[in-house]
């Protein structure tokens, strides 16, 4: 099942962004801006945030037999992204990233 991301267009109407094939749209978690001891971290020391929330998923890709391979992540799940790769996508002035389902390293469940 494809789950899209609802966007507010400037005209007050709504539209949805649907990733295609096996693509997953994620939003990176906010970087930690404070150290454990409560000291403000300069931007450089904040590191690259590899945890992200899945906000939209494509329908999956079809294999050579023509059958749909189901996606392995769901909207709302927290995932671990690889350090490199992914495509930056700006949707309504907010930064998202598209990753192939198979490139996501793992997920966190509660």
């Amino acid at each position: 099942m494809v789950v899209g991301l609802t966007l507010n267009t400037s005209q007050g109407a709504f539209r949805k962004f649907l990733p295609m094939f096996d693509r997953v749209l994620v939003e990176r978690l906010a970087a930690e801006t404070m150290s454990k001891g409560g000291i403000m971290l300069p931007e450089k020391a904040q590191g690259k945030v590899l945890q992200a929330t899945v906000v939209a998923v494509g329908p999956g890709s079809t294999n050579q037999k023509g059958k749909l391979t189901p996606m392995s992540v769901k909207v709302g799940e927290t995932v671990l992204l690889p350090e490199y790769g992914g495509t930056k996508v700006d949707l309504e002035d907010k930064e998202y990233f598209l990753f192939r389902d198979a490139d996501i390293l793992g997920k966190y469940v509660e």
Copy 2:
């Protein structure tokens, strides 16, 4: 189903351009020439428009079993293009781009 782009030939007759296999012909949306505050943007600051309208789609490609893989976008849909790739095509002095179906990142639905 293949859907072509109708072109007006110089002789007043019509002809259609049909993309082949899994190719999609798109027309990029116009770049925003004004900032949100209403100030004219210089061409450099306008950025590359990654949203485009599908104007023609090929029949799809056949997989190793000889079966046609259906296209995932339709004429009229607004799609998100990758930042790189695609083939510029000039049809009747208008600029279009051909992309493989699988290279289109996502689409916007209302």
Copy 3:
């Protein structure tokens, strides 16, 4: 169905050139030598002609199952060629180009 290009041999006899597998033999349309305003264009400004007429088509290639994949263009059709690629072939002092069926970007129908 393979359709060859009939050639006049120097001895007055005829012979045909048949492209092999999924190859398509095309003849590029003549470059426009005049601007829209009726001014002669120097050769450099004429650009590379990407439209071509199909003059011969191979039988198609066989897939891994041993079945023939039919060709997607026919002799006489006008096609859009990619800017790069193709093999120049001189047949009877005339310049033709061989392209793989899958490398042809699209075709024009009336």
Copy 4:
């Protein structure tokens, strides 16, 4: 069967990290800090530890037929890692490594 790694979140709650597809999460054994003769080894001489304990395994990847290829290692097993490759993953300030199941060289059994 996927087996995740239980993590203590900072809020006292628990959550699990589940590797995806055929990924294996391992924890390298501690480097030997003493020589056989009982002398402290400087960090450089300690070498790279290639033995690791499996702490979480993904569900396996699906082959072209859509069938799941089972994983060949289990949580708790000691494995031999290749000298290069793998992705460093920091989970709760502890260093782990993700490897594809097929990249693990061998395992030790008792």
Copy 5:
């Protein structure tokens, strides 16, 4: 059906050369040594001869299903060779070239 090239061994006996798999042994046509106007051409101006006669063909290669893919050229046919590629083979002090069946661009039929 494999068709070999009969060779005269130095001892007056005969032996045949059989290309293997989907290889085709060809003999390039003689370069034109005279211009159309009857003037002797220096060797450099003679160009590379791309037309050749098939002198021996292998049995064809077997596909992944284990079935033999038949060859698409026959001994005696005139073919068009690609400008690059092929393996020079000296058989009885005469120069031949081996090409893969799929690399031959086309053939001439009467």
Copy 6:
């Protein structure tokens, strides 16, 4: 059938090393340290020993159909290694090498 290499752990207990998938663990034969005429060879002149004894074999790899491809060498066999490739593995201070089954060039039988 997987056959592992029995190792003596430092605590007097035993454990086995099992290569994974289609990997083969070999031990190179000792280099010849004397010439045929009985003269001691300097280390450089001893050459790289390409003969090795198989000490452990993996279970084999599974093909795309999910079926196990059996290994082609057995523990105890003498094999010929390729000059390059293989992964050095130190097990209990002894040097072994892991090779993919398909990379082993041949074997010696009596």
Copy 7:
């Protein structure tokens, strides 16, 4: 059917070398050391001998279906080798070469 090369071990016993998978062990024919006119050729002018005798053949490789692809050459046959490639193998101080079955260009039959 695998056919190995019988070797005399230094202890007077015999052993055989069996190539693995689709490998073919060949012995190059002796280079011609005299010109046609009966003059001794210096080593440089002798050229690389591309004809060889097959001395041992592997069992063949298995395709993706798990079926053995039979070898296309037999022990005793004279083959034409490609100019590059192959692995030099020294067996009992004699120089042999291993080639993949598919890399052998052709064979000579009487």
